[in-house]
Point group: C2
Chain length 158, copies 2
Protein backbone atom coordinates (compact mmCIF):
# COMPACT_ATOMS: atom_id res chain seq x y z
CA UNK A 1 0.00 0.00 0.00
CA UNK A 2 2.70 2.46 1.01
CA UNK A 3 5.70 0.38 0.01
CA UNK A 4 8.71 2.67 0.11
CA UNK A 5 6.42 5.68 0.38
CA UNK A 6 5.87 8.08 3.25
CA UNK A 7 4.13 6.78 6.40
CA UNK A 8 0.35 6.81 6.25
CA UNK A 9 -1.32 9.65 8.17
CA UNK A 10 -3.86 8.16 10.64
CA UNK A 11 -6.65 10.29 9.14
CA UNK A 12 -6.41 8.53 5.77
CA UNK A 13 -5.76 5.01 7.13
CA UNK A 14 -9.49 4.06 6.94
CA UNK A 15 -9.34 4.70 3.17
CA UNK A 16 -5.92 3.14 2.56
CA UNK A 17 -7.60 0.31 0.59
CA UNK A 18 -8.20 2.87 -2.18
CA UNK A 19 -4.55 3.92 -2.55
CA UNK A 20 -2.98 2.85 -5.81
CA UNK A 21 -4.01 2.82 -9.44
CA UNK A 22 -7.24 1.30 -10.73
CA UNK A 23 -8.18 0.53 -14.31
CA UNK A 24 -11.39 -0.66 -15.90
CA UNK A 25 -14.44 0.25 -17.90
CA UNK A 26 -17.43 2.47 -17.39
CA UNK A 27 -20.74 3.29 -18.92
CA UNK A 28 -22.39 6.68 -19.26
CA UNK A 29 -25.91 7.79 -20.00
CA UNK A 30 -28.50 10.43 -19.29
CA UNK A 31 -31.97 11.30 -20.59
CA UNK A 32 -30.48 13.99 -22.84
CA UNK A 33 -27.57 12.04 -24.40
CA UNK A 34 -26.79 8.73 -26.12
CA UNK A 35 -25.30 6.15 -23.78
CA UNK A 36 -21.59 5.37 -24.21
CA UNK A 37 -18.82 3.16 -22.83
CA UNK A 38 -15.34 4.22 -21.80
CA UNK A 39 -12.02 3.01 -20.48
CA UNK A 40 -10.84 4.59 -17.24
CA UNK A 41 -7.87 4.87 -14.92
CA UNK A 42 -8.10 6.31 -11.39
CA UNK A 43 -5.15 6.97 -9.12
CA UNK A 44 -5.19 7.65 -5.37
CA UNK A 45 -1.92 8.66 -3.70
CA UNK A 46 -0.65 10.42 -0.59
CA UNK A 47 2.41 12.33 0.63
CA UNK A 48 2.16 11.58 4.37
CA UNK A 49 -0.37 14.36 4.97
CA UNK A 50 -4.04 13.78 5.95
CA UNK A 51 -5.15 14.11 2.33
CA UNK A 52 -5.48 11.69 -0.57
CA UNK A 53 -4.64 13.04 -4.03
CA UNK A 54 -7.09 11.86 -6.70
CA UNK A 55 -6.72 11.86 -10.47
CA UNK A 56 -8.72 10.20 -13.17
CA UNK A 57 -8.85 9.97 -16.95
CA UNK A 58 -11.13 8.23 -19.42
CA UNK A 59 -10.77 7.24 -23.06
CA UNK A 60 -12.85 5.86 -25.93
CA UNK A 61 -12.75 2.08 -25.83
CA UNK A 62 -12.37 1.61 -29.59
CA UNK A 63 -9.71 4.21 -30.37
CA UNK A 64 -8.06 4.96 -27.04
CA UNK A 65 -8.75 8.64 -27.75
CA UNK A 66 -8.75 10.68 -24.51
CA UNK A 67 -12.13 11.86 -23.22
CA UNK A 68 -12.58 13.30 -19.74
CA UNK A 69 -10.08 13.99 -16.95
CA UNK A 70 -10.42 15.29 -13.41
CA UNK A 71 -8.28 15.65 -10.32
CA UNK A 72 -8.53 16.79 -6.74
CA UNK A 73 -8.20 15.84 -3.09
CA UNK A 74 -10.03 13.61 -0.60
CA UNK A 75 -10.02 14.89 2.97
CA UNK A 76 -11.40 12.26 5.38
CA UNK A 77 -11.90 13.17 9.05
CA UNK A 78 -11.70 10.66 11.89
CA UNK A 79 -15.40 11.21 12.71
CA UNK A 80 -16.32 9.40 9.48
CA UNK A 81 -17.07 12.53 7.48
CA UNK A 82 -15.18 13.43 4.34
CA UNK A 83 -14.89 16.32 1.92
CA UNK A 84 -13.68 15.94 -1.65
CA UNK A 85 -12.71 18.76 -4.00
CA UNK A 86 -12.51 18.11 -7.73
CA UNK A 87 -11.51 20.15 -10.79
CA UNK A 88 -12.73 18.77 -14.11
CA UNK A 89 -11.12 19.13 -17.56
CA UNK A 90 -14.50 20.43 -18.75
CA UNK A 91 -14.06 23.48 -16.50
CA UNK A 92 -16.32 22.42 -13.61
CA UNK A 93 -15.33 22.44 -9.97
CA UNK A 94 -17.05 20.38 -7.30
CA UNK A 95 -17.06 20.54 -3.51
CA UNK A 96 -18.39 17.19 -2.29
CA UNK A 97 -19.33 16.42 1.33
CA UNK A 98 -20.27 13.04 2.72
CA UNK A 99 -19.35 10.07 4.84
CA UNK A 100 -17.19 6.96 4.63
CA UNK A 101 -17.74 3.52 6.13
CA UNK A 102 -14.36 1.81 6.31
CA UNK A 103 -15.88 -1.53 7.42
CA UNK A 104 -18.09 -1.81 4.35
CA UNK A 105 -15.65 0.20 2.21
CA UNK A 106 -18.28 2.64 1.00
CA UNK A 107 -17.86 6.40 0.44
CA UNK A 108 -20.98 8.49 -0.20
CA UNK A 109 -20.63 12.04 -1.49
CA UNK A 110 -23.09 14.77 -2.35
CA UNK A 111 -22.17 18.08 -3.97
CA UNK A 112 -22.31 21.15 -1.77
CA UNK A 113 -21.09 23.28 -4.66
CA UNK A 114 -20.86 22.80 -8.44
CA UNK A 115 -19.05 25.79 -9.92
CA UNK A 116 -18.56 27.15 -13.45
CA UNK A 117 -21.26 24.86 -14.86
CA UNK A 118 -23.90 26.11 -17.23
CA UNK A 119 -26.30 23.17 -16.80
CA UNK A 120 -25.11 20.87 -14.00
CA UNK A 121 -26.73 21.75 -10.68
CA UNK A 122 -25.90 18.78 -8.45
CA UNK A 123 -23.60 15.73 -8.49
CA UNK A 124 -23.58 12.71 -6.18
CA UNK A 125 -20.80 10.12 -6.15
CA UNK A 126 -20.79 6.73 -4.41
CA UNK A 127 -17.62 4.61 -4.34
CA UNK A 128 -17.85 1.03 -3.14
CA UNK A 129 -15.65 -2.07 -3.09
CA UNK A 130 -17.37 -5.01 -4.81
CA UNK A 131 -15.49 -8.35 -4.77
CA UNK A 132 -12.16 -6.56 -4.57
CA UNK A 133 -12.99 -4.18 -7.38
CA UNK A 134 -13.64 -0.45 -7.06
CA UNK A 135 -17.08 0.52 -8.33
CA UNK A 136 -18.63 3.94 -8.50
CA UNK A 137 -21.90 5.52 -9.50
CA UNK A 138 -22.15 9.21 -10.37
CA UNK A 139 -25.57 10.82 -10.42
CA UNK A 140 -26.24 14.26 -11.83
CA UNK A 141 -28.99 16.85 -11.83
CA UNK A 142 -29.20 19.61 -14.43
CA UNK A 143 -31.40 22.65 -14.92
CA UNK A 144 -33.80 20.35 -16.82
CA UNK A 145 -33.40 16.92 -15.17
CA UNK A 146 -33.59 15.67 -11.58
CA UNK A 147 -30.74 13.77 -9.92
CA UNK A 148 -30.30 10.44 -11.73
CA UNK A 149 -27.59 8.02 -12.84
CA UNK A 150 -25.01 9.43 -15.27
CA UNK A 151 -21.89 7.24 -14.92
CA UNK A 152 -20.94 3.90 -13.46
CA UNK A 153 -17.71 1.92 -13.65
CA UNK A 154 -15.86 -1.07 -12.25
CA UNK A 155 -12.07 -0.91 -11.86
CA UNK A 156 -9.39 -3.41 -10.88
CA UNK A 157 -6.22 -2.45 -9.00
CA UNK A 158 -3.16 -2.62 -11.24
CA UNK B 1 7.61 20.09 -26.05
CA UNK B 2 5.45 17.24 -27.27
CA UNK B 3 8.21 14.75 -28.04
CA UNK B 4 6.56 11.43 -28.60
CA UNK B 5 3.32 12.77 -27.12
CA UNK B 6 0.00 13.46 -28.79
CA UNK B 7 -0.22 16.34 -31.30
CA UNK B 8 -0.79 19.74 -29.77
CA UNK B 9 -4.35 21.06 -30.04
CA UNK B 10 -4.28 24.52 -31.73
CA UNK B 11 -6.12 26.05 -28.77
CA UNK B 12 -3.24 25.34 -26.40
CA UNK B 13 -0.41 26.09 -28.86
CA UNK B 14 -0.06 29.73 -27.60
CA UNK B 15 0.76 28.34 -24.14
CA UNK B 16 2.95 25.44 -25.30
CA UNK B 17 6.00 27.18 -23.76
CA UNK B 18 4.57 26.23 -20.34
CA UNK B 19 4.32 22.48 -21.05
CA UNK B 20 6.74 20.38 -19.05
CA UNK B 21 7.94 20.29 -15.46
CA UNK B 22 9.29 23.30 -13.60
CA UNK B 23 11.16 23.33 -10.30
CA UNK B 24 12.31 26.14 -8.07
CA UNK B 25 11.74 28.11 -4.92
CA UNK B 26 9.06 30.39 -3.64
CA UNK B 27 8.35 32.77 -0.82
CA UNK B 28 5.09 33.23 1.06
CA UNK B 29 3.80 35.95 3.33
CA UNK B 30 0.71 37.81 4.40
CA UNK B 31 -0.14 40.38 7.08
CA UNK B 32 -1.56 37.63 9.31
CA UNK B 33 1.27 35.04 9.05
CA UNK B 34 5.05 34.74 9.32
CA UNK B 35 6.80 34.76 5.95
CA UNK B 36 8.24 31.45 4.75
CA UNK B 37 10.20 29.90 1.88
CA UNK B 38 9.39 26.73 0.00
CA UNK B 39 10.53 24.38 -2.74
CA UNK B 40 8.09 23.80 -5.57
CA UNK B 41 7.45 21.69 -8.62
CA UNK B 42 4.81 22.53 -11.23
CA UNK B 43 3.83 20.29 -14.13
CA UNK B 44 1.83 21.23 -17.25
CA UNK B 45 0.82 18.44 -19.62
CA UNK B 46 -1.75 17.70 -22.32
CA UNK B 47 -3.44 14.74 -23.98
CA UNK B 48 -4.17 16.24 -27.40
CA UNK B 49 -7.34 17.98 -26.21
CA UNK B 50 -7.75 21.79 -25.90
CA UNK B 51 -6.91 21.66 -22.20
CA UNK B 52 -3.68 21.78 -20.21
CA UNK B 53 -3.52 19.64 -17.06
CA UNK B 54 -1.84 21.44 -14.16
CA UNK B 55 -0.41 20.01 -10.95
CA UNK B 56 1.79 21.52 -8.31
CA UNK B 57 3.36 20.60 -5.00
CA UNK B 58 5.50 22.46 -2.47
CA UNK B 59 7.81 21.34 0.33
CA UNK B 60 9.78 22.79 3.22
CA UNK B 61 13.22 23.78 2.00
CA UNK B 62 15.10 22.46 5.04
CA UNK B 63 13.43 19.08 5.52
CA UNK B 64 11.78 18.32 2.19
CA UNK B 65 8.55 17.74 4.15
CA UNK B 66 5.49 18.13 1.86
CA UNK B 67 3.40 21.29 2.30
CA UNK B 68 0.74 22.30 -0.19
CA UNK B 69 -0.51 20.63 -3.37
CA UNK B 70 -3.06 21.60 -6.00
CA UNK B 71 -4.18 20.45 -9.42
CA UNK B 72 -6.59 21.40 -12.15
CA UNK B 73 -7.00 22.43 -15.77
CA UNK B 74 -6.14 25.43 -17.94
CA UNK B 75 -8.62 26.11 -20.74
CA UNK B 76 -7.31 28.79 -23.13
CA UNK B 77 -9.55 30.05 -25.94
CA UNK B 78 -8.27 31.38 -29.24
CA UNK B 79 -9.65 34.85 -28.47
CA UNK B 80 -6.97 35.26 -25.79
CA UNK B 81 -9.22 34.52 -22.84
CA UNK B 82 -8.60 31.63 -20.48
CA UNK B 83 -10.32 29.88 -17.62
CA UNK B 84 -8.47 27.83 -15.01
CA UNK B 85 -10.05 25.49 -12.47
CA UNK B 86 -8.06 24.41 -9.43
CA UNK B 87 -8.66 22.05 -6.50
CA UNK B 88 -6.37 22.58 -3.51
CA UNK B 89 -5.18 20.01 -0.96
CA UNK B 90 -6.47 22.41 1.71
CA UNK B 91 -10.03 21.82 0.44
CA UNK B 92 -10.47 25.01 -1.58
CA UNK B 93 -11.66 25.16 -5.17
CA UNK B 94 -11.01 28.08 -7.51
CA UNK B 95 -12.54 29.14 -10.80
CA UNK B 96 -10.14 31.62 -12.36
CA UNK B 97 -10.88 33.73 -15.44
CA UNK B 98 -8.45 35.93 -17.31
CA UNK B 99 -6.34 36.52 -20.38
CA UNK B 100 -3.09 35.33 -21.89
CA UNK B 101 -0.57 37.21 -24.01
CA UNK B 102 1.46 34.63 -25.91
CA UNK B 103 3.88 37.25 -27.30
CA UNK B 104 4.91 38.47 -23.86
CA UNK B 105 4.26 35.06 -22.26
CA UNK B 106 2.03 36.45 -19.53
CA UNK B 107 -1.14 34.88 -18.10
CA UNK B 108 -3.32 37.00 -15.78
CA UNK B 109 -6.05 35.32 -13.74
CA UNK B 110 -8.64 36.59 -11.30
CA UNK B 111 -10.93 34.36 -9.25
CA UNK B 112 -14.57 34.30 -10.24
CA UNK B 113 -15.26 31.74 -7.52
CA UNK B 114 -13.41 30.58 -4.40
CA UNK B 115 -15.33 27.66 -2.88
CA UNK B 116 -15.20 25.83 0.45
CA UNK B 117 -13.02 28.51 2.01
CA UNK B 118 -13.71 29.92 5.47
CA UNK B 119 -11.55 33.04 5.09
CA UNK B 120 -10.28 33.38 1.52
CA UNK B 121 -12.55 35.60 -0.58
CA UNK B 122 -10.50 36.29 -3.69
CA UNK B 123 -7.33 35.01 -5.40
CA UNK B 124 -5.41 36.47 -8.33
CA UNK B 125 -2.61 34.66 -10.12
CA UNK B 126 -0.14 36.07 -12.65
CA UNK B 127 2.29 33.75 -14.48
CA UNK B 128 5.10 35.29 -16.49
CA UNK B 129 8.27 34.14 -18.24
CA UNK B 130 11.31 36.03 -16.94
CA UNK B 131 14.65 35.24 -18.63
CA UNK B 132 13.47 31.74 -19.51
CA UNK B 133 12.19 31.03 -16.03
CA UNK B 134 8.56 30.71 -15.00
CA UNK B 135 7.59 33.23 -12.34
CA UNK B 136 4.25 33.66 -10.64
CA UNK B 137 2.66 35.95 -8.10
CA UNK B 138 -0.44 34.91 -6.15
CA UNK B 139 -2.44 37.60 -4.39
CA UNK B 140 -5.18 36.86 -1.90
CA UNK B 141 -8.01 38.68 -0.14
CA UNK B 142 -9.61 37.34 3.03
CA UNK B 143 -12.55 38.40 5.15
CA UNK B 144 -10.14 40.68 7.04
CA UNK B 145 -7.54 41.72 4.45
CA UNK B 146 -7.71 43.29 0.99
CA UNK B 147 -6.14 41.67 -2.08
CA UNK B 148 -2.35 41.67 -1.61
CA UNK B 149 0.71 39.52 -2.33
CA UNK B 150 0.70 36.06 -0.72
CA UNK B 151 3.07 33.88 -2.78
CA UNK B 152 5.75 34.37 -5.41
CA UNK B 153 8.13 31.88 -6.99
CA UNK B 154 10.66 31.41 -9.77
CA UNK B 155 10.98 28.00 -11.45
CA UNK B 156 13.33 26.51 -14.03
CA UNK B 157 12.28 23.89 -16.59
CA UNK B 158 13.73 20.47 -15.75
Amino acid sequence: MTEGGPPLHPAIAPLSYMLGTWRGQGEGGYPTINSFKYGEEISFSHSGKPVIAYSQKTWKLASGEPMHAESGYWRPKIDGSIEVVIAQSTGLVEVQKGTYDSGNKVVKLQSELVGNASKVKEVSRVFEMVNGELSYVVQMATNLTNLQPHLKALLRKI
